[in-house]
């Protein structure tokens, strides 16, 4: 079935990115938006848009019935969920199918199977995919889990069965701390997922986080599209990804790729998905499967020269995977690095709000920016603080790093504090440059130095403070107002 009008049930950079491919395929695009985002970039780039009403995300982007209403109202015949929000909601996947629309994502059953982390572990073990040693699926009470914990050995991790993204996860170093940790994890898991069940996993000292892109079609073809190295994380959230991973050789890559394909097959997967592994001392363990497009999908696109969103739409329309993929004729080339620009301070990772007063994206050979904001965009606290992704491609890893650093330095962002200094520090760090790093990279880095302003910054500031305020190019309406007065311009006091 050929899709004519695609509703993107998301916001920010991923909504914009999906629309671009849709437009190239001759498919009309429909944006949805919460009222506070009526003028947002993803709305402005769509062919049409539907309001989801006012309120917090749970009443807008996370409301299955509103998304379906929007699809009906706009005449959309298909829905792309992006990542986050409802992308891993079996309820939406089912409701879309029941409404007679196409779902650009995996079957609801596959989402459900992989969404329950304990069930997924069991499935993977049965499919011969190695998993991190952990507690038995039946162990639920404190007593049962304590016994399992002694068997696995401390330190270990407590994790939410329904979880993801590290929510509800904590490290426990001694048996006596386990009960308190279990209670806390159950509370968080209950609040976040309406499911209090937790389980235990062995703690790996210096694991790398390496994931494989998988893709399957409705004809039963399942392939992998190589790996992404995602070990640069802050508080369990990725901030820099690269491909290929310096930790894999050809043999290990082949074994992990096979395991990823086996994982996808075990749940009769269809569409784009990602199988995450922990890699420690040359051994790898299934971590979880993300049953959606990944934030960092773009680095795979750059090294393979493919468009994963186009492939998603084609598979959803009933087309088979490209024959080159089916026959293993993918041609990885060069090196790609993604930097995630977050609206957050670079030291404590506290989210920042504000209005983007200056926004000049880097450009040029080998530089791609997937962005969800623009000059004038309002950045609030109700959504993920990801502003944009910089993807740098180079013919080898040093060239890609140099290009990423060059582009990052050229990126002008004013109005909202970002993690730009942290990203620059990662690129310049010995550990990252060497390629030998694990998920504790950030912990081992020296703290971000607060450099004093260079003379040019003092001069620019003095010039701006000497001039009449209108001459600084700031829009009156866009100016934040930390002094407590209301918005419009006033002369310097």
């Amino acid at each position: 079935m050929k899709i004519r009008r695609l509703l993107i049930a998301n916001r920010g950079e991923i909504a914009v990115r999906v629309m671009r491919t849709a437009r190239e395929m001759g498919i009309a695009t429909v944006a949805v938006f919460a009222e506070d985002e009526a003028g947002a970039r993803h709305v402005r780039e769509a062919d049409g848009s539907v309001s989801l009403g006012a309120g917090l995300p749970r009443d807008t982007y996370l409301d299955v019935s509103r998304i379906l209403e929007a699809a009906r109202a706009s005449g959309a015949d298909a829905i792309h969920p992006g990542y986050g929000f409802l992308s891993e909601s079996p309820a939406l996947a089912r409701a879309v199918a029941e409404a007679g629309l196409l779902w650009v994502g995996p079957p609801a059953d596959a989402i459900e199977e992989m969404g329950d982390k304990v069930r997924a572990r069991r499935r993977m073990e049965a499919a011969g995919v190695p998993v991190v040693p952990g507690s038995a699926a039946g162990a639920l009470t404190d007593e049962e889990l304590l016994a399992e914990g002694r068997r696995i050995g401390f330190p270990l991790l407590v994790k939410a069965s329904a979880g993801g993204g590290g929510k509800g996860m904590s490290r426990v170093d001694r048996p006596e701390n386990l009960p308190a940790a279990l209670a806390e994890a159950r509370r968080i898991a209950g609040a976040a997922f309406s499911d209090e069940r937790v389980y235990l996993e062995a703690f790996l000292a210096h694991p790398r986080h390496v994931e494989f892109q998988v893709f399957a079609d409705t004809a039963g073809n399942t392939v992998h599209l190589l790996e992404r190295e995602c070990s640069v994380q802050r508080r369990h959230q990725k901030i820099v990804e690269e491909t290929p991973s310096a930790a894999l050789d050809g043999a290990l890559r082949a074994r992990m790729g096979e395991a990823a394909v086996a994982a996808a097959r075990a749940v009769s997967y269809v569409g784009a998905g990602t199988v995450e592994f922990l890699l420690d001392s040359g051994r790898f363990y299934f971590l979880e499967m993300n049953t959606r497009l990944q934030v960092e999908h773009a680095i795979t696109e750059e090294t393979l020269g493919i468009d994963l969103v186009r492939a998603q739409i084609e598979v959803a329309s009933g087309t088979s995977l490209p024959s080159a993929w089916r026959e293993g004729r993918i041609s990885p080339r060069g090196h790609a690095i993604e930097l995630r620009l977050y609206a957050e301070d670079p030291v404590e990772f506290l989210p920042r709000a504000g209005t983007i007063l200056a926004w000049e994206e880097p450009t040029g050979p080998g530089v791609r920016v997937d962005s969800g904001v623009e000059k004038g965009s309002r950045v609030g606290l109700d959504y993920d603080p990801l502003l944009a992704k910089l993807i740098a491609f180079g013919s080898d890893r040093p060239a890609a790093i140099a290009r990423a650093a060059r582009a990052l330095k050229e990126w002008v962002v004013l109005g909202v504090e970002t993690n730009q200094p942290l990203l620059a520090a990662v690129l310049a760090s010995d550990a990252f440059v060497s390629g030998r790093y694990a998920t504790d990279l950030l912990a081992t880095m020296p703290p971000i130095a607060q450099t004093p302003p260079p003379p040019e910054a003092w001069i620019a500031a003095a010039l701006a403070l000497s001039a009449p305020p209108e001459s600084t190019g700031v829009l009156a309406a866009a100016a934040p107002d930390p002094w407590g007065e209301t918005g419009s311009w006033r002369p310097g006091r």
Partner: protein
């Protein structure tokens, strides 16, 4: 003029085509475009800049780094956080108010919970006393905004100027 950027401070004097930054005399030329200053060129090279002003404060983007610089000449100092006040450490939304307005707290008790993104941050009482809330559950607040004060029990009169919840 005297400028301040966090803990750093400089005396900056602008003359025609030259500047004095602290003890450092520096001839420069300014490049501008439709968006204001674009670069400062001096003997040490060309440095790209972007500036946005808000009142007596500017943010300066300078070759990949961002600085917040404000005028320190006779500036009204930022309100010092008084020992009895609780202010927001970052922008966020008040998720829960734990203590009833007018309720009594001990030093260190959680008064309210601020949520920024998915993280929750407990705001604790700086001393023993009676809580007066300045903001209400669900409010969006900016960094540095006063959330509540704790009055000494039985001693001082009710704080004036504390807004009721808006």
């Amino acid at each position: 003029m005297r400028l301040r950027a966090g803990e750093h401070s400089e005396e900056v004097r602008l003359e025609k085509d030259r500047a004095r930054v602290g003890d450092h005399e520096m001839p420069f030329t300014l490049e501008q475009d439709g968006d204001g200053p674009a670069a400062i060129v001096s003997s040490s090279g060309r440095v790209r800049v972007r500036v946005r002003r808000d009142g007596r404060r500017v943010t300066v983007w300078c070759d990949g780094h961002v600085f917040t610089i404000e005028s320190a000449d006779g500036a009204p100092r930022r309100r010092e956080e008084a020992a009895h006040e609780m202010v927001a450490p970052m922008p966020g939304r008040i998720r829960r108010v734990v203590v009833a307005p007018g309720g009594t707290v001990a030093k260190g008790d959680v008064v309210l919970v601020l949520e920024a993104m998915k993280m929750e941050h407990a705001i604790r009482a700086p001393r023993e006393g009676i809580v007066r809330l300045s903001r209400a559950e669900g409010d969006l607040v900016e960094a540095g905004e006063r959330l509540a004060d704790v009055e000494a029990p039985l001693a001082s009169p009710p704080a004036t100027g504390a807004d009721s919840a808006t």
